[in-house]
Symmetry: C2
Subunit: 407 residues, 2 copies
């Protein structure tokens, strides 16, 4: 007699057969005696098709009208899914974002949920109906339609689960769950039964995106029980929780790589206090986020600072540095776009010094050079040459997850 | 400084070029100093495509979910048209049915407008914005989306014009206006400058559908100035009014045919009082509407009754009669589906006996046999063989509208 929120992404509702499959998953859950609220994305390419339609007319439309346009995609999905459920003999009702009471701020195309008025949903659940809510959308205080931006439907689902105090929030996707590494490229990658919110956040930020970070952050804040699973295989998925049982036993949850970064090095910096702060506040003003940072003693008493930024920001970061060469006081800035970040993530890492050295050892044995190192409570990242990235992930994964090497 | 409501149908917004054309018509009206509210239908085949999607999933979906699905079509149109207007440098805002305050009853798929809350529209018009409203849709008291059924966007436009006391309601379509006969099949058919509401209603019910009857009835009730015109040619259209200037001069406004009917004849009825009432109340209970009725003295003191029904109702009407043969008391029922109704419509007909005889004369000269005759204040209809229908329309049209014959 639990309340279960289920979210189905665009590939899960791409055509009539897939919608029927989703309806089957929902009704099976319902038949086990649960209340079910499902959040749906737009079908397959619908959103891209709508964007293409708009580009034929105006390549720079107002974001309000764009949200008006795009929100139709999810509305089509929920109506069709309701029809599929009706066809199976169950009662369903579809609700758009505004009907479901999803109140957001007014940042069209990247709105944040402020509050959910749950009365309507509760009323329909009380009537024993299966409730289908359009993901990705809400309304602002002007009664205008907003969308939540990328990964928005995950956020809709987690927010609804939090507001309704649901017992479980299942995110159905086209992968089986969260793996120790990308199963498409790493041999021996294994599915995790459980993972903590923090590990999940680190993995997503490392480019192993399964869930959008906004939704994981929200799940962590409101302690929503999350589960990531496939809408196609019927296999058990990965549970995302605050604390997981297997934490003591296995220190490393996963290995991830991120090639979408670049490294900048400021060479010959004068050794003045506050210089690092100055650099990063100049970048922050231009919305450039800095990730790894390495400060080292250079030649002749000067020092060097290296840092990584997202690849699309690299040229801008370089320009910002050059514009401020005088103010910062350095000799030259070097940009290297052929780097990759490889990381291990695990809840117990900080309390187990052996883990990091085991990672470095694996890289050393594979002959891979480490450029930079960064560690946090639950993560160890190294910067390597881009061409070494795949080998690095496999070597580290083998070291931690091969049958004899798992430490 | 007038307020003008403009309605554009599905063929007028079918693709990006046509949407740009609509945006041009709207902004030209706006540039002349008017406030403009435009009501749009779904693009070209969008509604049919959505219906097809639903049929793949459920051939008998609930009408609530069907309305949820179909209402996305108009939402796409208004968003795209707003973008096109923005592109031309004007401020536009699109509003769905619920945002525009279109409150309806709960008859999903054929809802009736109950009231329009115009606050939001007025606010946007006051800000000098061009307002685009999704036609065909509204919400009921449960905050659920409803659609108005066929011709619904015309009704939306007229209702908005009435609620806002607009100075003019222009219905843009793919024809130039209202013609004296179907210009695709009748030689010499002429566009009317003006026509009365009543004539328009008769013409629509006769199968010369340009405007949906619901919208004309509403325009008549609230005395909305209507104009039917083409979104493609830029020609002046036809004005639909309560009283038209040319009424005294020309008695006949148009000639129309309707092949979508069938004739039933009950032969050998006992001559009892109230028998006609019995027949038509039996049909009424099964939602079969009767159009022309002819009662005649038959053989041996019995009588015959003939009547016409819409073609799709013909078999049902015959079954209803046969089921009640005893109660009604007749010998046989005959069904003829190969008939057509040809009518002339004109505001002054009832006061000008010569008009009807001129029509019969034209048919006699063309060698066309008349089965049944029916007259009203503004209409004379005759039933002819289906294969004579086109010739009948042309002969009547020639008689009234050829250069020398116009009476």
């Amino acid at each position: 007699m639990a309340l279960i929120v289920q979210k189905f992404g665009g590939s899960s509702v791409a055509d009539a057969d897939k919608i029927r499959n989703v309806a089957r998953i929902i009704t099976e859950t319902y038949r086990r005696g649960h209340s079910v609220l499902a959040v749906l994305s737009a079908q397959g390419d619908t959103t891209d098709d709508l964007i293409e339609k708009s580009r034929e007319i105006n390549r720079n439309p107002s974001r309000r009208e764009m949200d008006m346009l795009l929100s139709t995609g999810e509305q089509i999905s929920i109506a069709l899914c309701a029809m599929a459920i009706e066809r199976m003999g169950y009662q369903a009702i579809s609700l758009t974002g505004w009907q479901a009471g999803m109140l957001t701020d007014s940042s069209y195309s990247s709105a944040r949920i402020k509050r959910i008025r749950t009365e309507r949903i509760r009323k329909e659940l009380d009537k024993k109906k299966i409730v289908l809510v359009a993901g990705f959308q809400g309304i602002n205080k002007y009664d205008d339609i907003t969308t939540l931006g990328r990964g928005g439907s995950d956020t809709s689902a987690v927010a609804l689960a939090a507001a309704l105090q649901a017992d479980l929030c299942q995110i159905y996707t086209d992968v089986d769950g969260v793996y120790t590494a990308d199963p498409r490229t790493v041999q021996g990658a294994r599915k995790l039964e459980e993972i903590t919110f923090d590990e999940m956040l680190e993995l997503a930020s490392l480019g192993a995106q399964v869930l959008h970070n906004r939704s994981v952050e929200m799940a962590k804040r409101y302690n929503v029980n999350l589960e990531v699973l496939s809408s196609f295989t019927g296999n058990p998925g990965t549970k995302v929780k605050e604390v997981v049982k297997t934490m003591e036993k296995m220190h490393v949850s996963g290995v991830a790589k991120d090639k979408n970064i670049a490294r900048l090095a400021l060479v010959g910096l004068e050794d003045r206090p506050g210089i690092a702060f100055k650099i990063f506040s100049l970048l922050g003003k231009r919305n450039v986020n800095v990730d790894l940072i390495l400060q080292s003693i250079g030649r002749n008493g000067s020092k060097d600072i290296s840092f990584t930024v997202a690849l699309p920001d690299a040229q801008l970061a370089k320009e910002v540095m050059e514009e401020n060469r005088e103010a910062i006081g350095f000799q030259s800035v070097e940009l290297n776009e052929n780097v990759a970040k490889v990381s291990i993530v695990g809840a117990g890492l900080a309390h187990n010094a052996g883990v990091a050295s085991k990672m470095f050892e694996a890289l050393y044995n594979a002959g891979i050079n480490i450029n930079m190192i960064s560690t946090s409570e639950i993560k160890v990242s190294v910067l390597v040459d881009e061409r070494d990235a795949e080998r690095a992930v496999q070597a580290i994964h083998d070291r931690f997850f091969s049958e004899f090497g798992n430490g």
